[in-house]
C-alpha cells in the first residue's frame, strides 16, 4: 500500500519552462489537494478536486493548472515557471466521510526556479 506518491522529488527549472508534478494515490480517496510550502510559512492550497472530472481553485492558483481524469491521479502543471514558484509542493488525499484521520500527504517535490 503505497499511499500518496509524488514525482519527481527534486527539480530545477529555468524561468519560462514548464513541467508537471505527478501525484497518484492507491487508497481510492475521492478528495485530492495540492499545497505549496514556502520557507517559514504554512501550507497554502493551490487546487483541489472532489472527484474525477471536478477541480477547483484554492488560495494561490495563479500560474498553475490541474486535471483529474482518474480517481488515482492528480497532476499539477506549471506553465511559464517563475522564481516565485520556488517552493516545496505537497499532494494530499482523503476519503470523505471518514472522520478523524486527516489528509494523507505525499513526501513532496522540491522545486527551484532559476
Amino acid at each position: 500500500n503505497a499511499g500518496v506518491t509524488q514525482t519527481p522529488k527534486f527539480r530545477i527549472l529555468k524561468i519560462g519552462q514548464s513541467m508537471t508534478l505527478q501525484c497518484t494515490q492507491d487508497m481510492n480517496h475521492n478528495y485530492m489537494y495540492w499545497y505549496r510550502q514556502d520557507p517559514g510559512m504554512g501550507l497554502k492550497l493551490i487546487y483541489y478536486s472532489v472527484g474525477a472530472g471536478i477541480t477547483d481553485k484554492g488560495e494561490v492558483p495563479n500560474g498553475y493548472n490541474v486535471s483529474r481524469s482518474t480517481t488515482e491521479d492528480f497532476p499539477l502543471r506549471l506553465e511559464l515557471a517563475a522564481p516565485s514558484q520556488t517552493s516545496v509542493y505537497f499532494c494530499a488525499s482523503i476519503l470523505t466521510g471518514v472522520a478523524n484521520y486527516g489528509y494523507t500527504f505525499g513526501s513532496g517535490t522540491r522545486l527551484t526556479v532559476v
Binding site: 504554512g42 492550497l45 484521520y101 486527516g102 494523507t104 500527504f105 505525499g106 513526501s107
Partner: protein, 112 residues
C-alpha cells in the same frame, strides 16, 4: 489575512517535560481542527484531531484542547521525547473532507 495563526515559531523543552503548542483561529465557521507533524524532507503526517463538539481529545501522549469562545487550541505532549522534535502544524476546516487552512508551524526541539 491569516485565519490560523501559530505565533511561536519555535519551542525548546527538556526530555520528559510537557510541550505545549498553541494555535489561534479567526474564522468562527471552523469546526474541525487537526495537528500535523512534519520531519525534514517528509510530508506532514496526521497526529490528532478534534471537532467543535468536544473540548478535549487524547491519544496516548498527545492531547488537544479546544476553547471555542477564545478561538484557541493547544497540543500537549506529555512526556516529551527527542523523537518528537519536528515542525507541528495546526490546521482548521469547516468540516471533514473540506479544504484545510494551515498555520505557519512551530518547530519543537526536545533536548535529551
Amino acid at each position: 489575512d491569516q485565519q490560523v495563526k501559530q505565533n511561536s515559531p519555535s519551542l525548546s523543552v527538556q526530555e520528559g517535560r510537557i510541550s505545549i503548542l498553541n494555535c489561534d483561529y479567526t474564522n468562527s465557521m471552523f469546526d474541525y481542527f487537526l495537528w500535523y507533524k512534519k520531519y525534514p524532507a517528509e510530508g506532514p503526517t496526521f497526529l490528532i484531531s478534534i471537532s467543535s463538539i468536544k473540548d478535549k481529545n487524547e491519544d496516548g501522549r498527545f492531547t488537544v484542547f479546544l476553547n471555542k469562545s477564545a478561538k484557541h487550541l493547544s497540543l500537549h505532549i506529555v512526556p516529551s521525547q527527542p523523537g518528537d522534535s519536528a515542525v507541528y502544524f495546526c490546521a482548521a476546516s469547516p468540516g471533514v473532507g473540506y479544504k484545510l487552512i494551515f498555520g505557519s508551524g512551530t518547530r519543537l526541539l526536545v533536548r535529551p
